[in-house]
Symmetry: C2
Subunit: 209 residues, 2 copies
């Protein structure tokens, strides 16, 4: 598998708006194919058939099934970041921001159930892209926590370890309550998670309530 | 793939102590082979070669590569439960128990790095075994939290959602600090996680410290 530097976007960049649409159609089709069948059962032809493009168009933008898979993992990872990031605007407190980010991630995961399967399969198909997804996600959460700690808003030792803990919490709450079963509302799940990371589970003293 | 009821152990049960050892040798060899090469690149012969057993012995206990993989996922899942469960004895408070369980899980994951890869690959090879692993793990944490809530030791609403949050936290702390990098001691990681779930991240009032 060709090594691509992490900051480089895999696949060739289209020169026209039409090319942009074709490349995106291929990525969208790949998301469905890889999401439903997994990497091994998906072929370039099943992707181009679903996208309604010619095989030649595929090779205009991607060199291989591996390359479009890597492009898709980066695209999904960016979409997750965008979903969470967009929700942050307008939220003032750090706990409100984390709550909004999780609520938005849960909605995204409920609508794009394939995101889990694709990112999880990257562990076996493209380990570097898989690891990069989690490292970048944790780094974003860590930055928000460190800024809040700096501002005296939360515990001053808040940092990387807490970011990994929050990310893991979000990933598994998404798996349980957005992908497997939707027996609780995303807003309730995000609210309960916010309460957990803000206050912990210890019994509240009457003065706290 | 043959359907096995979840409570049934896959593979035939040995009738002798020697048979028991052979079956375990096959499982241990399978853990290394699947852990290093993944499911698709592993064959029954690479497993029996590593175990030093005849091919016939494999078929005495397992019907297929799929069946030994499923047996291995259940074995690993039980080992994770055993590692965490053994650590609980003697710990009196619920937060101390969760801290001990995580510390013990981190030690287990550091020693058996393959546990992540095997359980993660089960999502694609044996989704029912994969889901069952997480549902059982969450159910054990949930039981501990509900007992503590019942006893008035922690918040009375502590339950399933918090169990999934804690499990996700533990899984990602293990990935980051036991499998990928060991730049922090397991005891420190478990202590910080305990503090997070006990007290949350909010700034402590002078009276709290």
């Amino acid at each position: 598998m060709a090594q691509t530097a992490d900051h480089e976007e895999p696949g060739r960049t289209p020169r026209t708006a039409r090319g942009e649409r074709t490349k995106q159609a291929l990525l969208d089709a790949a998301a469905i194919e890889f999401g439903e069948k997994g990497f091994h059962e998906t072929s370039i032809t099943t992707i181009t058939n679903r996208a309604g493009t010619a095989l030649g168009s595929f090779y205009t933008y991607f060199e291989s099934k591996e390359e479009i898979f890597r492009a898709l993992v980066q695209f999904m990872s960016a979409e997750v970041a965008r979903a969470a990031g967009g929700a942050l605007e307008g939220e003032r407190g750090v706990f409100q921001r984390e709550q909004a980010a999780l609520r938005s991630f849960l909605a995204f995961a409920a609508e794009h159930g394939e995101v889990y399967r694709i990112i999880d399969e990257a562990e076996f198909v493209d380990p570097a892209a898989w690891r990069s997804h989690y490292e970048k996600t944790a780094a974003r959460i860590c930055k928000r926590l460190e800024d809040a700690a700096e501002a005296g808003e939360i515990r001053e030792d808040a940092g990387e370890l807490h970011a990994w803990a929050l990310m893991g919490m979000n990933v598994f709450l998404g798996l349980r309550y957005a992908v497997w079963d939707r027996d609780r509302q995303p807003a309730d799940v995000a609210e309960a998670a916010r309460d957990l990371i803000e206050n912990g589970l210890r019994r509240r003293k009457p003065a706290d309530s």
